[in-house]
Symmetry: C2
Subunit: 208 residues, 2 copies
């Protein structure tokens, strides 16, 4: 006895579903994100949940989209004000740490991309494609900031932006593991220490 909601109400419901879905997927994975679980959590019927997406795959893609929006807001947006070059690169890196450390509310099981990357790395399909696309996107942006820092003379011209990007991503993957699996509060400082070395003014650590 709750049919015929307005379009605005339907959008609000969809939001609730997706936000809860992101939290569930961060813990149990995008496959573990089941319609029945969502319905129970939200006090809805399964058909009511599924009606907003049609298929589970579309729901998974919506959760991934929402996670991407959260990531952009937490990591890239705050750094936009910083000066291009090393200051902005450092701002991005610091925001990334803060994102992994404190976005525990939206991602109780850790960064959804870290989870989804491993979950879908040996499968096909549209969800895997989306994970790959987003992974490439964050790396491309990070490499872009590194190039700006090189162009500004803040990092050595010998710097290999792809290599440096690769090493920084490694520092975030191990940070996510240490926070989630080992609950080690020293991890953020460890990533910071390694980053300080890689991003020292004039540093040429990651060379071709």
């Amino acid at each position: 006895m709750s049919p015929r909601k307005s379009a605005a109400e339907a959008r609000a419901t969809r939001r609730r579903i997706v936000e809860r879905g992101v939290a569930i997927a961060s813990v149990d994975g995008l496959e573990g994100l089941t319609i029945g679980r969502l319905a129970t959590d939200l006090g809805m019927s399964k058909a009511g949940v599924l009606g907003h997406f049609g298929t589970k795959e579309t729901l998974q893609l919506a959760a991934l989209d929402e996670a991407a929006a959260v990531f952009v807001r937490a990591v890239w947006r705050p750094a936009e004000d910083a000066a291009p070059g090393l200051p902005r690169l450092r701002a991005v890196c610091e925001a990334w740490i803060a994102y992994l450390e404190s976005e525990r509310e939206t991602f109780p099981g850790g960064c959804l991309f870290a989870t989804a990357s491993v979950e879908f790395d040996a499968r096909g399909g549209r969800v895997r494609d989306a994970v790959v696309r987003l992974g490439r996107l964050w790396r491309r942006r990070l490499a872009g900031e590194i190039r700006l820092a090189v162009a500004a003379g803040d990092l050595s011209p010998d710097t290999d932006p792809e290599q440096l990007t690769y090493e920084i991503v490694g520092l975030y993957l191990v940070l996510n593991q240490d926070l989630q699996l080992f609950a080690d509060p020293r991890a953020p400082e460890r990533t910071r220490r390694a980053l300080a070395r890689l991003l020292a003014p004039g540093a040429s650590a990651a060379v071709a």
Copy 2:
């Protein structure tokens, strides 16, 4: 019509189950490792599969044990012959790369520990405990090799073994991601390049 096998035959069957289980879990995770799937793959009944373990959890733990044995054989055993210090540390690191690169047969979905770490990092239970225990074990061993290298004077006395271990693990996590998710053949060389910097004679990159 195939009851009453000998104890040796039963052991051989158990082996087949576990080995196939490791391969499945590496692709679909330890939760995605289902009794029915195993039974179909091996041409057995579900009860026949489950009879060797009793519960799915025990089967998951057996798969994890087998993966640990493979890891020890591939990474730690070959390095045992190398001289303690930087030579052995480097041998371990190189074997670890080779393990991720070439153990595609036993782990078609990539290193099972990388998969299981993310899959269970937000859960409780005995499987999670085993993943944590093994993760700590590899790190402790790696830190031990680093300490030997410091003691031998091969690495700077300023070296922080925990910090260096952390950074090296990051280089393996990103290597696994790039091999599995992005299928990027340049990844092993990237990890090698970063390791060469961290493990240069007298290097004091990872200091406290």
